[in-house]
Amino acid sequence: MSVLKWTYEVDGTDFTRAGEASSNLKKKLRALGIPAEVIRKVSIALYEGEINMVIHADGGVITIEMSPDRIDMILADHGKGIPDIEQAMQAGWSTAADEVRSLGFGAGMGLPNMKKNSDEMRIESTVGVGTTVYMTVYINGGPKKADA
């Protein structure tokens, strides 16, 4: 065994269930004895990702790969895609509908928060096809983060 692998289906139709994957993963990481700071980063990054998948992409699939030194999170959806990733990464930028904003979401902090809480993050997106976000959080430090 080199890694543990878990997959979570994210239901895009039920807003109240967003966060189930991060909550479930958190319990597992706790049972593994992962440091609190790592768990915190992983759960925040994943939770923001889940919310994005529900708000913008009608759900998708999350794959978690965990090895003793790192946790990789792959969030894949078949949503409308992101036309300009650089713009989407800017704090405050949001295309969320008003009804979502009225619930307190859509503040444009989702992607910036995911970046802030992961050690590495990469986005692949094709308009009309979907988006895949790759995030990595290192356990016990790992290689230094390239940019802060």
Binding site: M1, S22, G33, I44, Y47, P68
Partner: protein, 428 residues
């Protein structure tokens, strides 16, 4: 690791081995083996949920008997704010305080008084912005213990101040020693408690090494003895508490003492856990303070109380209605260093992890997942563990056998005819 003392214990003879308690325990600390429940000491947070739910009254809180008064030359009663809500038609807190003296205590120091001092100290500490927001109350010992074993990421948020009972005991004992000239060991500070977790908190405190509370008597033990001593006439004015102090007895009371609208109060252990989970995911962005009480309704809901928590809450409102806001202030309180601030930091106790070594833990988790796949997933509790996952973890930890699952012994093809019709066959 610290040795674990627990107030919540099991009466072996009364336990029938049913599964009510294992399903309700918030830290999955109870297992049933050979028709008896066992409490896993390092996981128990003394919240008292099992006492509340046990239909056979087999779970109990170990408190001190009233005989403890005999151990001291001078005794101080420390009644909890919620205690004042246990009586019918009580219009004046002084009636209860006088009854405590008539019962045999030499002195009464209201915990509500210390609560007002803690409220003032919290306001001062919050104003410095030294603590990460939101600040989480440390007054409920079951919640503080829950955070310590389950929410390591939130430990920094816990208010590093003693709970009102601890402050009350420290101040009252010092004042009594000065007044009587007796050495501290001859003075007994006895808490009249609604709560088993407070017993644990005095025997094995968090935030300090030794608690100043010398004994904890259950409200339910002293209640009936106090009733005949309660008189309306010729009572001495004793109470020195305002609205804020008494409000601590029910959920939201501690928050209201902060005089700040940016707070949240949750009560009931399940709700508390939900708030802590959300807090860990940083879902609350504009909250300064979070008050959490393990019991529904707050301390009025404590398992050692006698009155219905919601009736008690109403009574508390009624008693405090005409009181001034607060009668105790930091500037005028008789405090010395250490009365308020924790001297020992709260530390994470990882009782839920599978192995010390991450690699080993991962191997064990893989086994857990494999076992889990082979189980029915009904979480029926018949094996003695609260859920299928808990059984799978117990098997991997070597504490249970997969054959404990009753469904593995059953023949699933043997379904009686009336139950055989599935969804798609309906209406045929």
């Amino acid at each position: 690791m610290q040795e674990f003392f627990h107030s919540v214990t099991l009466d072996w003879d009364k336990c029938k081995g049913c599964i009510n308690c294992i399903k309700r325990c918030p830290t999955e600390a109870i297992r049933v083996r050979n028709k008896k429940a066992y409490i896993i000491a390092e996981r128990c947070i003394d919240c008292g949920e099992c006492i509340r739910v046990c239909p056979h009254h087999a779970k109990r809180a170990t408190c001190d008997s009233l005989d403890i008064l005999k151990n001291y030359s001078y005794t101080i009663a420390l009644p909890a704010p919620s205690f004042m809500a246990q009586f019918n038609n009580l219009e004046d807190v002084d009636i209860v305080l006088n009854a405590l003296i008539a019962f045999g205590f030499n002195e009464v120091y209201e915990v509500a008084k210390a609560a007002e001092i803690v409220s003032a100290a919290t306001r001062k500490l919050m104003a410095t912005h030294d603590l990460p927001r939101p600040v989480i109350s440390s007054a409920c010992p079951a919640v503080t213990r829950l955070i310590r074993v389950r929410f390591p990421g939130l430990i920094d948020h816990v208010l590093p101040l003693h709970a009102p009972i601890e402050v009350a005991a420290r101040v009252a004992k010092r004042e009594a020693a000065e007044k009587t000239g007796l050495p501290p060991e001859k003075i007994g500070a006895i808490f009249i408690s609604p709560c088993p977790a407070k017993v644990t908190a005095t025997k094995m405190p968090l935030g300090t090494d030794v608690s100043a509370v010398d004994g904890v008597v259950a409200v339910s033990d002293i209640y009936s003895k106090l009733l005949p001593l309660m008189h309306h006439d010729s009572i001495e004015y004793m109470s020195e508490t305002g609205k804020i102090g008494l409000s601590w007895g029910s959920s939201g009371g501690e928050c209201s003492g902060l005089i700040n609208d940016n707070y949240l109060a949750a009560d009931g252990i399940e709700n508390v856990i939900r708030v802590l989970e959300d807090l860990e995911d940083e879902k609350f962005r504009d909250v300064d303070f979070i008050e959490l009480n393990a019991c529904s309704g707050g301390c009025v809901g404590g398992v050692l109380n006698v009155e219905n928590p919601y009736v008690a809450k109403t009574k508390l409102y009624r008693i405090r209605k005409h009181l001034p806001v607060s009668l105790n202030h930091l500037e005028t309180a008789d405090l010395v260093d250490g009365d308020l601030d924790w001297d020992t930091p709260l530390e994470f106790v990882p009782v839920l992890k599978l192995d010390e070594n991450v690699w080993e833990a991962m191997m064990k988790m893989e086994q857990v997942e494999e076992i889990l796949q082979s189980l029915e997933g009904l979480d029926c509790g018949s094996c003695g563990a609260p859920s299928c996952r808990a059984l799978a973890e117990d098997v991997v930890r070597g504490l249970a056998s997969i054959d404990d699952c009753i469904f593995r012994c059953k023949n699933h093809d043997d379904v009686p005819a009336p139950f055989r019709t599935g969804g798609e066959e309906k209406g045929e």
